[in-house]
Each structure stands twice: as C-alpha cells, then as structure tokens.
Amino acid sequence: MDFTLRKEHEMARALFKEFAEKEVKPLAQEVDETEEFPRETARKMAKNGFLGIPVPKEYGGQGCDPLTYVMCVEELSKVCGTTGVIVSAHTSLCCDPIMTFGTEEQKAKYLVPLAKGEKLGAFGLTEPGAGTDAQGQQTKAVLDGDEYVVNGSKIFITNGKEADIYVIFAVTGMIEKKGRKIKEISAFIVEKGTPGFGFGTKEKKMGIRGSSTYELIFTDCRIPKENLLGKIGQGFKIAMHTLDGGRIGIAAQALGIAEGALERTIAYTKERKQFGKSIAAQQNTQFQLADMATKVQAAQLLVYKAAMAKATQKEYGFEAAQAKLYAAEVAMEVTTKAVQLHGGYGYTREYDVERMMRDAKITEIYEGTSEVQRMVISAALLK
C-alpha cells in the first residue's frame, strides 16, 4: 500500500494551490463581508477547466479523476469555503447526475456547456418539509402533452440564482412498495429562464456567505418531456446516488477549511507572544496543534479514500458518508480550536479563522447532516 501521490495529482495540487492563493484568497474576506457571489472568480475557474474536472473530455470536461476534483475543492476551501462549494455543487450535484443518468442528447445539450464552464449548475432536492426525509417532497410534476407542468418550491439551493442549469426533483405520482403507498419521485433538468421558474428570497447565512443560496419557485412551469432525467420514478435513486458523490465534495470542502485554519493557527501561534515567549512555545498550544494536525491528516485519508472509491467502485456511499461525517466534524473542531488559539483576535473578522469557523458549521449540515451520515454508516454495518 502506497500513499504517494501520482505525478499528475502533485501537479494538479500545485495548480489549485497557486490559483487559490493568487485569485481566491485576496477576495475571501470581501466575499464574506459583502455576501456577493464571486462571479469573476467563477469565470476564471471556468476558463481554467475547474468546472469540469471529472467529466470525460468527449463531454467537454477535463477527463481527470475524482481525486483531482477533490483536491481542487480542498485547495479552494483552504482559503475560501464559498468558492469551494461553488465548484462542489456545480460538479457533484449537477454535472454528475447528468453524466450518470442523462441521455446522449441531454449530455450534449447540458453536460457539455456545464463541463466547459459556459454554464453553472445547481441541484434542487430540499423543500421546506423535505430535507433529510426526501419522501416529504411536495413539488409536483404532471405530464401534459409533451411537457411536464411543475409546481412547488425548493429551498437552500446552492448556486441558486447564479446557475443556468438545474437538476430538480418532483413527485410524479404514487406507487405501491412493499404494500405501502409511497410517492413516486422523478428528476428533471430545468433551464433558467423557463417561464414559471423564478426565485424566492436569498438566505442570510452564518457562513459560506458568498454562495448564492436561494429558494427556487415553480409556478405552472412547463418543462419539455425530454428533460426528464433518467426514468420516471427513478428520482430517489438519482438523488441518493448524486448525494453520495456530493458528500465527497463537501468532505473535501470541510477538509480544506480545517487545513486552512490549521495553517493560519500554526503561523499565528509562532508570532503571538505572551509572557515573553511565543504561544507556540507553550505545551498547551503544542498539544492542541498536534491533535488538530493528526485529525486533519486522518480526515484527508478518509476523503481521498472516498474519492478513490468513487473512481473504482460501483457503490461508494459508505466511504462517502464516513469521509463527510469525519471531515465535517474535524472542520468544526479544528476551526473552533483555531479561534481559541487566536484568542480575542480570533473572534474578530480581521482574522480568517473567524470566517472559517462559521463556514465549517454548514459542512455538518448540508448534503446530509452528520446524523444522516451515521445512519448510512450504521445501516451498512448492520445489514
């Protein structure tokens, strides 16, 4: 067993790191303060191929593997959690389901411009009454001639108003399963600008404040029949498969946030003097840093293992859940310790760790809470 990265991964990491330092880091604080979506950064990422990393070249992507994509989200998130999730939501939640379940026509029409970065993608599953419980879906799609008529709303949608192409889910009927009547859920591709498709309020969030989090509203929105993604009734399967991949992306975001907070804390504790010596010379600081670094390393191994599982295995939900659960909790713990080690300064917005602690929290919540990850992991253990 060899933990050495291949040459292409080393080079890719160097690329993402350089880009993050030069193009993303200088804007991170402003993006957080203003809550403005970093459009210029998104444009630069598109130009450099960051929006189609794991998509095959024949579909306009870069033809790389999931590990390369994970490293991109990781390095971006080291300096800006907002920028990390823009890439993650676009790639894992919009490109991936179209790549996996789309027809060749859908791939040509939607995946190619998404992977080239000409269009930005988003994913709409969550509703006011349907978060973890996907069966609580209220949004309906009714076939009328050659079109589905969609009514309902989706909330907390990352890249919400900035995206051009959306993968959404809606109830298309009722079916009987194991003697119980359950909702039949289907997936659809929707384009921005489709009549009847609009936006509600923008969420005012604790962290990742530059990501455009909006409500999507569908009012008699007519979607061409050919925009059904996968088969009718396959929506739940598509959603769960997509979230397995999405969790690896969020795990990478959490990992990056933790790494960024650790880097800054190491630098700060070497500079900050109290009682005549740097606080890094205090054993408490040393032990805290040792624990933080060890957990970050463990998180990285789990995240990379999940990325490798996505590349080589048909099912990787277990690895993805473990990676996300652990990386998210490490991100929260490490950023909290980072703020503590920065003392009063760490509580001010002058220092990045304050933002990182706020950004870390969401990684324990979205794309499946930590509790859901525990459910997934334990279900696999006990089956």
Binding site: M11, G49, F50, C64, C72
Partner: protein
C-alpha cells in the same frame, strides 16, 4: 508555423539555494519553478498557437528532473517537449549552454525561437542572443509585445524610457520579458495529458555541429571564484534616542553618505 521555446528550470527562491563544492548550483537539491521570463515566452508562443495554429515545442537543458518543467509547459498547452541531458553537459555557463541548445535546435524545424530575456538564477541575459549567433539568425531582445506579419515578426523592444518597433524576417529569435503577458495556468486535463506525453530525450551524441571543447564545465569560459546564498551584513549600529533627536541623527547620517 513552428515555434520552439527554450525554457529553464530555476531554483524557487522560496525553497532556499544550495551549491556544489565547485560553486555551481546544486540543482538536484532545490525546489524549482519555470523561469518567469521563459514562462512569458511560452505564453507568447501559446497565443500564436491559439491565433495561428502554431506548433509549440519546448526545449530545455538540465538534469533528468528538468523533464518536470517540460511537462508543466505541455500542461499549459505546448505540443512537444525536448530534454537535453547528459553528464558531460553539466556545469555549463552561458556559452556552453547556448552551444548545447544551438546544437539541439539544428535538429529541429522552427520559424521562431523564443527564449526568456534572462534566468533568475544567473541573470546574464546572454543565452538567447548567443543562440541566435550560433544559428546565424536575427535576434530581437527584450520583447514586450509581438505580432506576426506574413513571414515576419514585429516586436516592441523595451528600452529605458521608450520602446522600439522592430521587424525581422523569420526564422529569428526573440527574448521575452516577464512583462510581455500574464502566463496562463495549466489546466487539470492538460496536466493529465502532460504526464502521459512522451518527452524526447537527447544526449551529447544528438547535438549537431558542436565541438566538445564548447560543452559542459570544461567548455565554459566563466570561472566562479566564490558563491554564497546570502550577503552577510554587519550587526549595524543601534542607538536609543528621543524621536526629535532621532530625526536629526538619521538626517545627518544620510547627508554624510550623500543620500540626501
């Protein structure tokens, strides 16, 4: 149109500088980057590729690990890479380097050769013009802008307070300034392709029309008397004064040294 860009792997100043006992750089022990002027030259060539479909080949001389800089160039968009590496070429100064590169270039098709103005490790700005002499082609140095006009190239050559516009018929050589452009990033897909790309490796035997006496440390007229990585500074003078006195004290010191 065929463009050859000569690029050099130079020490990354962030990683510290190390020397061999003979005073030459211990390149194997240092972190490296693509020389910034060369990177601008590569970007200029890649823009010619974007605009005119030029074929871009990158050429370097160095240790086997200099292959990395060629792969970086291919990941940015270059088509091919040629590495000239041989123990007998080690320790070369600008003369021996330009002789080596010219020997390699005699085996290659080119309309335009682009080099960086100078490398950040040697700062001589000699290799590019020397190559043009060996190959008997025109050179335009210090290019801050360039465009193609039929079978000629029109270059803005930077000068102290102005620039000169020069036109040269190809084949010719241009030395590029870092200010020429903002080099593009590698792309992730480009990196994957670059890692699979076959690099052409040439040794001494592949160099055309070059005498042994012009190669390597033995062929280098430059003699290094001494090399060090840091200029040692004295401890300096430390005085403790009130701010009002301090200003006068500093002004006097500056006057004595004719700074003001």
């Amino acid at each position: 149109m065929k463009v050859v860009v000569c690029i050099k792997q130079v020490p990354d100043t962030k990683g510290g500088v190390k020397f061999n006992p003979d005073g030459t750089l211990d390149r194997a022990a240092m972190m490296t980057i693509m020389n910034p002027d060369d990177k601008a030259g590569l970007e200029a060539a890649l823009r010619l590729k974007d605009q005119y479909g030029a074929e871009v080949t990158v050429l370097t001389m160095g240790l086997p690990k200099a292959e990395d800089v060629l792969r970086e160039a291919i990941a940015m968009g270059a088509d091919k890479g040629v590495l000239v590496t041989d123990r007998v070429l080690g320790g070369a100064d600008t003369w021996a380097t330009s002789q080596t590169l010219a020997g390699a270039l005699r085996n290659m098709d080119y309309d335009l050769i682009i080099t960086g103005r100078q490398a950040i490790d040697g700062d001589t700005a000699q290799v590019g013009p020397q190559i043009s002499e060996h190959l008997n082609i025109p050179v335009i140095s210090y290019a801050q802008n360039l465009k193609i006009d039929g079978d000629s190239v029109i270059v803005e050559r930077q000068y102290d307070d102005r620039y000169h516009v020069l036109k040269a018929k190809m084949p010719c050589l241009i030395t590029a300034l870092a200010e020429l452009n903002e080099p593009r990033y590698m792309t992730p897909g480009g990196i994957f392709d670059a890692c699979k790309a076959e690099i052409t490796v040439w040794g001494r035997a592949d160099l055309k029309d070059v005498e042994d006496s012009n190669l390597g440390l033995k062929g280098s007229p430059t003699q290094i008397a001494k090399a060090s990585d840091k200029v040692r500074k004295g401890a300096g003078e430390k005085v403790v004064l009130d701010p009002s006195e301090a200003v006068d004290y500093i002004v006097d010191k500056l006057k004595v040294r004719h700074v003001i």
